[in-house]
């Protein structure tokens, strides 16, 4: 690897003196004392980030607040801007979430921003060559192709793959853009990272998000990880976890691998990939059998305990030991710890997970099981407790909230007529549009049936390629997909890459929009039909971003867009202009310079529109409130406490950092801990929502399918149904527009407009009302398949058939037919997602230069493999050529019938540029080639999908390994 220096980064370091710091403080204090008004905040903030400099040596140095664009912790940092160039970063020590800390990815931000390997101009592949084209030519060609396909094949023949790495405003506009193009075939990374979390949690207790803030884990008595490796995927979360541990909390990691997180834990429990539910139910089984559960909580705030126990009573520690590898005695000890969180500051226990739990055919059930464990001991709704789903991308909570998803409208509104009418009302306030006009844009399927696809969930990103191929899995829409937007999405994070590659070669036009070329440009082996557009990074545009714990932070622009890159909003509007509905995507802010690419798509105004309609999650926050928080945080680090994120002094006293939703109106402080009903709503209290209503429910009396009232205990005493703005029972709160005053009246009576209901042990409307253990599609235990079979095949899940039982039966004996080992995948701390950014950063590539497979020493010796040898890892889908990383992190398996089976092989998933050992680096446009390439493990992961959300299975399938 040749040494590479960043020419931009050669200028001198910061020369900010003590005097300047004092000056900054004085400025901020003055702003605080003068009273924060919405106008003065912006002006003062501008002064703050651009301090006038007295001494020549400080001229031109600005420290600009922003947030990291890697994981969803939401770390703040200062971009160091000198003469319009970002020359590095400085710590933002006052940010309460990270108090300055960042990981290797975060500290590489200026290198990533300034990268010479970014996509610099719009490029088009034609005649086998990449040629530079103008923005106008690119946008014209894309828009014309869209119109052609929409007229010929219908609106559903274009797939819109969006991004969790753009701002809330861009995500919202993207979803709106798909709607105005008449299709629900819009989806993004949330589908393949935490869709099962949303489905699992929302079906248990109404909201699908992380319940407690990152910082709140400091107050836990017990932190349990299930399929989460924070030391690699969310390093700064470990700041809070290790602080809790220092205070006496116990930190337990349950994982098939001895991860870096396990190394920092008090206890590590190895269990077999794909058996989470069995282990969780065994823990629950011991708790109930010993009467350690919280009967008062269960009685008052939950539903379905008895039916739940009918299932769980069968999962005794002895039964589960055989399934999971975990000794019964260990299960008993885990159960004791769970019910009696050891010492620490708090008495509540929290459970944390990420892809290890979500990316399974039983992902939704995994999450449901963890939520039930929280309910069992009443840990949820308390400081230090809760279910903490560690989300992946910096704004994946925001992009989920904005619902760049094929089955929802922004803020979790479904696709019903009522939901569409709600958002059309909001959109109509900006620019006239009627429900009928919008509906006319959508196709019907079957044609002439009157069944508008407006109300039918679209194709998911996890299987979008099937919508193109339309072969083994025929699709339920008029025509196959002919064109696809890949807008800020690394396609190597999707499984079945062979089929995806084929689909990418089959579509008529493939449009990539990203700061990097990514494999959207290079995976398809085709001479033409690809256009890639350079999007600006989030450091070159403004916007808001939701971290995993629902806190919204405002990113300022550090530098003007580099090269010919453009902000996402600008690109969306330019396309909308060409498609004839540009006025709906125009939000002109006259105060911005005419050279500002965000002048016509003001993020502040878009956020206002979002706030107007986002009742379900009450994301009611203005840019001014967010900027005011940032200003306070800049001037006095004691204002927002890292302990509970609350402002303890100054004009924002009582407010929580980032105004975590639900934030009921312009005076509400935010709700950091969901379902906490021992404090008033005005101070961040919250209730379980009675949103589940079986047939027979009426306003004021929501009931389950077996007739049990879903009203639970509340802060004011008895539970109550959701409210209309006038205080009567009904779902009016969801559809109110600008009803701040009405909600204030309810809040003043300590009534939560979303109602006070029960959380569900038994979710009657799910495929498994109570989760049960189901063996993975490719199980290393053929003897367990009959007892714990997977689901029956499904004919139409998000417009596509999904096979379960057929696959499992066909491959029942696979473990004895040459595929003895368990393949699982995961993260490396140095890389992010598909890795286009991080594999183009030479610091990170120096730390982690190649893809590898972790193999236990015993297995390696038996196979004659040495450390760092080339090996093939092969499954039924194909094979990957990677380095062998011989380590005890993974297990050695057992000998069965004279053969070694059940050893785990681990491969990180960030890699691309090789396809089954063959490099396709030559297909990147010149000058955008990444620094490090490797084989993509998602070529070989199993063809299984979650039963509820079509999340792809990446954590459990069978493989074999041999020397290359």
């Amino acid at each position: 690897m040749a040494a590479r220096m960043n020419s931009i980064g050669k200028s001198n370091g910061i020369r900010l003196s003590r005097r300047t710091f004092t000056k900054l403080s004085a400025l901020g204090t003055a702003a605080a004392l003068s009273g924060i008004s919405s106008v003065s905040v912006s002006a003062e903030l501008e002064g703050l980030i651009a301090p006038a400099s007295a001494s020549p040596e400080e001229a031109g140095v600005r420290l600009i607040k922003s947030n990291c664009t890697h994981c969803a912790v939401g770390c703040g940092f200062h971009g160091r801007c000198e003469n319009g160039v970002c020359t590095g970063i400085e710590p933002w020590l006052e940010n309460p979430i990270n108090t300055g800390s960042m990981c290797s990815k975060g500290t590489s931000i200026s290198e990533i921003l300034n990268s010479e390997l970014r996509l610099k101009h719009p490029m088009k592949k034609t005649g086998g060559q990449w040629v530079q084209i103008t923005w106008a030519a690119a946008l014209d060609e894309i828009a014309n192709k869209m119109k052609e396909i929409q007229a010929r094949d219908g609106p559903d023949s274009i797939m819109y793959i969006g991004s969790a790495k753009t701002s809330n405003e861009s995500c919202y506009l993207f979803r709106k853009f798909a709607a105005f193009n008449g299709t629900n075939n819009v989806d993004h990374q949330a589908r393949i990272c935490h869709s099962t979390t949303v489905a699992g949690l929302a079906n248990t207790w109404s909201y699908g998000a992380m319940t407690n803030p990152w910082n709140d884990m400091r107050h836990s008595g017990l932190i349990m990880f299930f399929g989460e490796n924070a030391a690699e995927s969310h390093p700064v979360a470990m700041l809070h976890i290790l602080e809790a541990k220092r205070r006496g909390a116990k930190f337990i990691v349950c994982d098939p691998r001895f991860t870096k997180s396990a190394a920092a834990a008090d206890q590590w429990v190895r269990f077999r990939s794909g058996t989470d539910i069995a282990l969780l139910w065994a823990i629950a089984n011991v708790i109930v059998n010993n009467n350690w559960h919280n009967t008062d909580f269960i009685e008052k705030r939950t539903y379905g305990f008895d039916q739940w126990w009918d299932v769980v009573k069968n999962y005794t520690p002895e039964v589960v030991e055989d399934i999971t590898w975990v000794p019964a005695a260990t299960i008993r000890q885990l159960a004791y710890d769970w019910a009696h969180p050891p010492q620490g500051e708090g008495t509540a226990a929290c459970i944390c997970w990420a892809m290890g739990a979500t990316q399974h055919t039983v992902g939704t059930n995994n999450i449901r099981a963890m939520a039930c464990l929280e309910l069992l001991c009443g840990h949820v709704g308390k400081p230090g407790g809760g279910t903490n789903a560690f989300r992946g991308h910096d704004n994946v909570q925001g992009s989920t909230d904005m619902c760049v998803l094929s089955h929802w409208l922004p803020a979790y509104y479904g696709l019903t007529e009522k939901a569409w009418r709600h958002w059309v009302t909001v959109w109509n306030m900006h620019e006239p549009i009627t429900y009928e006009e919008l509906k006319a844009k959508f196709a019907e399927h079957p044609a002439g049936s009157g069944n508008s696809l407006m109300h039918v969930s679209g194709i998911t990103v996890s299987r979008w390629y099937e919508g193109v191929l339309n072969r083994e899995y025929p699709i339920a829409q008029p025509n196959p997909i002919k064109m696809v937007f890949v807008w800020g999405h690394s396609l190597n994070s999707i499984t079945e890459m062979k089929r995806m590659k084929e689909a990418m070669e089959k579509v008529e036009l493939l449009v990539g929009v990203d700061p990097h070329a990514t494999i959207a440009a290079s995976l398809a082996d085709r001479p033409d039909g690809i256009i890639i557009l350079p999007a600006s990074t989030q450091f070159e545009q403004e916007g808001s971003c939701n971290n995993s714990s629902r806190e919204t932070q405002w990113r300022n622009k550090i530098v003007e867009p580099l090269y010919e890159s453009r902000p996402d909003g600008w690109i969306i509007r330019e396309l909308a202009n060409r498609l004839g509905f540009g006025a709906h995507f125009t939000y002109e802010d006259a105060s911005r310079a005419s050279s500002d690419y965000q002048r016509m798509v003001s993020p502040e105004q878009v956020l206002d529109e979002i706030s107007r309609g986002s009742n379900i999650i009450m994301m009611r926050r203005s840019a001014n409130r967010l900027k005011a928080q940032q200003l306070q945080c800049a001037t006095d680090c004691s204002v927002f406490s890292p302990e509970d994120l609350q402002a303890k002094s100054g004009p924002l006293t009582g407010e929580y950092w980032g105004l975590p939703w639900p934030c009921w109106n312009d005076q509400h402080p935010g709700t950091p801990i969901l379902y906490r009903n021992d404090i008033p709503i005005w101070e961040g209290g919250n209730e379980f929502r009675p949103r589940f209503r079986a047939t027979g429910s009426t306003a004021g009396n929501p009931i389950s399918d077996d007739g049990v009232s879903q009203l639970g205990a509340s802060y004011i005493g008895p539970g109550y149904d959701q409210k209309n703005s006038d205080g009567t029972d009904g779902d009016g709160w969801i559809y109110e527009i600008d009803a701040d005053e009405a909600f204030k009246n309810l809040l003043n009576q300590n009534i939560c407009p979303s109602g006070a209901g029960r959380a569900r042990f038994r979710a009657w409307d799910l495929p498994d009302p109570v989760p049960v253990h189901r063996e993975p599609l490719e199980s290393p235990r053929p003897d367990l398949i009959d007892k714990y079979p997977t689901y029956d095949d499904v004919t139409n899940l998000y417009r596509l058939p999904v096979l379960y039982k057929t696959i499992q039966q066909q491959r029942k004996n696979l473990v004895n037919e040459g595929y003895p080992f368990i393949l699982t995948t995961g993260r490396q701390v140095e890389h992010m997602g598909g890795g286009a950014e991080t594999r183009s950063c030479h610091y990170l590539v120096e730390l982690q230069p190649e893809c590898y497979a972790e193999i236990h020493p015993t297995v390696a010796i038996e196979l004659g493999i040495n450390h760092w040898d080339w090996v093939w890892v092969e499954t039924l889908r194909g094979r990957c050529k990677v380095r062998a990383y011989v380590t005890e992190r993974v297990n050695e398996g057992v000998m069965r019938g004279g053969k070694r089976v059940e050893a785990t092989i681990f491969i990180p998933y960030h890699w691309a540029g090789w396809f089954e050992g063959q490099s396709y680096a030559n297909r990147w446009p010149a000058g955008t080639e990444e620094l490090a390439y490797g084989d993509s493990v998602n070529i070989i992961c199993v063809d299984g999908y979650d039963r509820s959300t079509v999340m792809q299975e990446t954590k459990a399938c069978l493989c074999k390994v041999y020397k290359a």
Partner: protein, 190 residues
């Protein structure tokens, strides 16, 4: 009064995220193949795994200073980012002859002798480079920058503490004062 700048590592908290390595590279523009701070892992992959960030420790009595035949290494007082006088150990790359004696003298293996450099960097081939508390970037420039141990300020878990020893020692003591930081068996329950 000048204060000593030091590093203290709470190794129970280091998770090997690489932030110190990356921010050092970013701030000091250290080229590929050379590292002023590196994380060393022991017992990798099994209980007892520990990570230790290793760099120049800015010794109070630096053996490298004594070993240097051309007096290229100095213990100097510079301004830190908070305006205080800070004592750090730096190397004058224009004096260094690249003999490697400091590497022999250093107990930590901190001195690096970059090789394979290209272009403008070629003149620094084999010339000793090490942590300077962000005072001198890889390519030396006229005048010092402020001492500011960014690896400590950015450390993801506050495992690496860097800066004024009188400020970081209490933080270190507090972090280490609870025996719960170390892996241990809890009292048995069943």
């Amino acid at each position: 009064m000048a204060t000593y700048y030091k590093f203290l590592n709470v190794i129970e908290k280091c998770i090997n995220c690489g932030a110190c390595f990356a921010i050092c590279k970013d701030q000091n523009k250290v080229p590929h193949g050379t590292a002023r701070v590196q994380i060393v892992t022991i017992n990798e992959g099994k209980p007892g795994e520990k990570n230790i960030p290793v760099s120049c420790m800015h010794c109070t009595n630096p053996p490298c200073v004594a070993a240097c035949p051309v007096k290229a290494i100095e213990q100097r007082t510079v301004k830190d980012w908070q305006g205080k006088d800070a004592v750090v150990v730096t190397v004058d790359k224009h004096k260094c002859i690249g003999c490697g004696y400091c590497g022999w003298a250093c107990p930590f293996g901190a001195p690096q002798y970059p090789h394979g450099l290209e272009g403008d960097l070629k003149e620094w081939e084999g010339i000793m480079d090490k942590c300077t508390m962000c005072v001198v970037p890889f390519v030396p420039r006229a005048g010092d920058l402020q001492a500011k141990a960014r690896c400590g300020l950015f450390c993801s878990t506050k495992a690496r503490l860097g800066g004024d020893i009188t400020e970081i020692m209490p933080q270190y003591t507090e972090a280490k004062s609870h025996n719960t930081m170390a892996y241990q068996e809890r009292p048995g329950v069943l």
